[in-house]
């Protein structure tokens, strides 16, 4: 990429207090059981009440985060809105399908149908902003956020003075959680405080919305630079993963010793965590590493929260207290994020101050 990609502002609604006035990242909010739930703001202070009545939870989470992010950036009208979501608007889909069965495919109400499509969040953001610019939603399971971000990076590389709003959102609904639980993905009686050390089968389900205002214009107001992002699919073994990480850094002319912090996608599942544990003892041996899924849980677009966390660390020049790791010593200038979803979708992000 010829042009640099900067993060001008960030916003996130997550199971921690990460949004707006209630932002408090010192203390970890604890969750017990098998899932996390987002801490949501009072949406009546953000949206017109007439809009809210048609917005399901995921739409409110996504749109509120996008609006807050844009507000912080000072950009009034983004040149593009890019959204990643693996599951889309599940609650509305569930309402629509339930009515379809109950009413025997007759007398179906339009709202749940209209709002059940995956691109509803991106569309709602555009409607609120009255933004007629490029708008795309990416639904690629564990690469949904990465695909949205890649599109953003390509747009920023191809155009001058461009501002792009990109992010990801996914929700847990009762139905989706029940179905996913049947696959044995989650622990039964877990606690997020010791999730990353649990080393047993399964993880905790998570959800969240994170948006980023990205620009190719250099400014002291930018909070970080998104140096690079890469994905790889179903690596053969840990050695291949290791090679991919090394090549990724070499491509960016970055030495492992330049990395001040590595954020890993550990989620407490013994099968999935093997690769993280191996890397911590091999290429990341002398690097400071932290996890983040004890904050937000596991979901296909959790990497958006990881990028939010990395940006927050670079902006504040310290690791927030809720991560639960004391980071002393040299200032954090370069962060590498490595994550995999279900050992299938692997992604790498390199951010710098």
């Amino acid at each position: 990429m010829d042009k640099k990609v900067y993060i001008r502002s960030i916003a996130s609604i997550s199971p921690q207090k990460t949004f707006g006035d209630m932002m408090s990242t010192d203390e970890l909010l604890e969750y017990a059981g098998d899932k996390f739930t987002c801490v949501e703001p009072d949406y009546s202070k953000i949206f017109d009440p007439k809009l809210i009545r048609r917005m399901s939870r995921i739409i409110k989470m996504g749109a509120a985060t996008a609006i807050e992010c844009l507000h912080k950036s000072g950009v009034k009208m983004p040149d593009a809105i890019l959204t990643g979501t693996a599951y889309g608007c599940l609650e509305d889909t569930s309402v629509f399908l339930t009515k379809l069965i109950e009413n025997r495919e007759d007398m179906l109400t339009p709202t749940a149908f209209i709002q059940s499509t995956h691109n509803t969040v991106g569309a709602q953001i555009a409607l609120i902003l009255k933004c007629h610019n490029y708008n795309n939603t990416f639904v690629h399971r564990g690469f949904s956020f990465e695909s949205a971000l890649l599109d953003a990076m390509l747009l920023l590389n191809e155009n001058e003075n461009t501002n792009v709003l990109a992010g990801a959102v996914d929700e847990i609904t009762n139905n989706s959680h029940r179905i996913l639980s049947r696959f044995g993905l989650y622990k039964h009686h877990a606690s997020n405080r010791d999730l990353l050390l649990s080393n047993s089968k399964g993880t905790m389900a998570g959800e969240g919305a994170s948006f980023f205002s990205l620009t190719n214009q250099s400014s002291p107001e930018n909070i970080a630079q998104l140096v690079a992002m890469a994905t790889f699919y179903k690596p053969l073994d840990i050695e291949e993963t290791e090679k991919n990480i090394v090549y990724f850094l070499e491509d960016m002319s970055t030495d492992m010793n330049d990395i001040d912090l590595v954020i890993l996608g550990k989620n407490g599942d013994q099968k999935g965590d093997k690769v993280y544990d191996h890397l911590s003892h091999s290429i990341f041996k002398n690097r400071e590493t932290i996890g983040y899924k004890h904050l937000c849980g596991e979901y296909p677009t959790a990497t958006a929260f990881a990028v939010w966390l990395a940006s927050t660390i670079l902006q504040n020049k310290m690791v927030p207290g809720f991560v639960g790791v004391e980071k002393n010593g040299s200032p954090i200038k370069k962060i590498l994020i490595y994550n995999h979803y279900e050992r299938i979708h692997h992604s790498l992000f390199l951010l710098s101050a």
């Binding site: 007439k50 009545r53 048609r54 009413n103 007398m107 179906l108 109400t109 339009p110 709202t111 209209i114």
Partner: protein
């Protein structure tokens, strides 16, 4: 009319409104309750579900959905016809 108002509130998810907040003759669309074309579809479904009335002529819509009173009158007239 109170029952009809309750049904409208549920169907359109007007959480902040109580039946008494909706005037009998208050316009439902634009300057009144501020409903829009999607709400019109929801109201058509409501008539079908609750009162088994199919609005066959689209031109009747603006008259029928003028206010809660016009809706109630339309429902009564339809029920009287059936009897």
């Amino acid at each position: 009319m109170s029952d009809l108002k309750k049904q409208i509130i549920v169907q359109l998810n007007l959480k902040d409104l109580k039946p008494e907040d909706i005037g009998d003759d208050q316009p439902l669309f634009v300057e009144g309750l501020g409903l829009d074309s999607i709400d019109a579809l929801e109201l058509i479904v409501l008539l079908q579900q609750e009162y088994k009335i199919k609005l066959s002529n689209a031109d009747d819509g603006p008259k029928v959905f003028q206010s809660v009173r016009t809706m109630a009158q339309y429902i009564k007239a339809h029920q009287a016809q059936k009897e």
